[in-house]
Subunit: 164 residues, 2 copies
DNA sequence: GTTAGTGCAAACCTTTTGCAGCTCT
DNA sequence: AGAGCTGCAAAAGGTTTGCACTAAC
């Protein structure tokens, strides 16, 4: 919860817990799910209309630097913005459906194994790790097959985007 | 090599192999290493001074959509730009030193295991995957220890950035 | 000849910076 | 009191778009 995050953040000498940071920390912790800066800003403004977008960015940067949140792109499924989530005890991968945008989280021993192997193999000291997997969820696989059945008769194919 | 990439790209009906795309494909394939759009643009301009930055972005977008290149952030070690590498047969993780920026590539069975488990567990059809690990290489671990020895006496600590 | 791709300029979107004033400790 | 933080405005950095012209097929 927010208090825990706040405490950790405050451990650094000279870091202050301001009204704005309280609001942002609460939002990040509560809505546990992957927020981007803009969404967080929108939510924060509902609690404090004066709170500035810049403050959101600065706070996220601070939390990231302190290792309190992790930054994700979620395969840029919706654009190039970044998403944030509070650092969890257990490492996990994000599995993003490229069609519906649904996000699943995968916890499994391969992640730990990989971590160990990288540390051993390179003598590397891991600070943060990020695994993102894009593809199609079981639901969308079916829908895509249908879409492509139709599309095949008309024009498009999966990888062929005519948008350039 | 470029020809292979070109061929694949050309499979889509109506996609044309232009002089500019040849240049870009050659560069991406040759310099095998993680280029960002700007660097690629610089290199391309040496071969064709008229070639535009926009064309670089458009080409990268096309290649990405076609699954010919993978997009990486390399933990945003140098900024928020994206890096590109030609899709390799074998999946691998990128291990980035946050101090010196050196990049290692890790190939290991945990990556395949994870892929299998995600497919099995979620019934997910994986299209692309990306694993990035940030931390300190064996060399920089030593240097950081020294730096911090000095820093401790003066002001800073690892996680505490005074840059906001 | 048709249609995709290019170059250019401008728009866009998100993040960063400089600075004066405010506020937490 | 004083360092740290905020808001505002402006800049920066990178990507995208509209459009007329060019070139690949």
């Amino acid at each position: 919860m927010a208090l825990e995050v706040a405490k950790k953040s405050l451990k650094d000498p000279g870091v202050r817990m301001t009204r704005q940071r309280k609001i942002l920390l609460d939002l990040i912790d509560q809505s546990g799910e992957h927020l981007d800066a803009e969404r967080l800003f929108t939510l924060a403004q509902q609690k404090d209309p004066k709170l500035n977008r810049v403050t959101v960015c600065r706070t996220l940067k601070l939390l990231k630097a302190g290792g309190l949140v992790d930054e994700l792109d979620l395969m840029h499924h919706k654009g190039d913005q970044h998403y944030y989530e509070t650092r969890m005890k257990q490492e996990h991968a994000h599995v993003i459906c490229l069609r519906c945008g649904r996000i699943e989280e995968f916890f499994g021993d391969p992640l730990q194994k990989m971590r160990e192997q990288i540390e051993d193999h390179f003598g590397f000291q891991i600070v943060l790790a990020r695994t993102e997997v894009g593809g199609y969820c079981s639901h969308c696989q079916v829908l895509r097959a249908q879409e492509m059945g139709n599309a095949a008769a008309s024009s498009g194919r999966p990888g062929s985007r005519r948008t350039l």
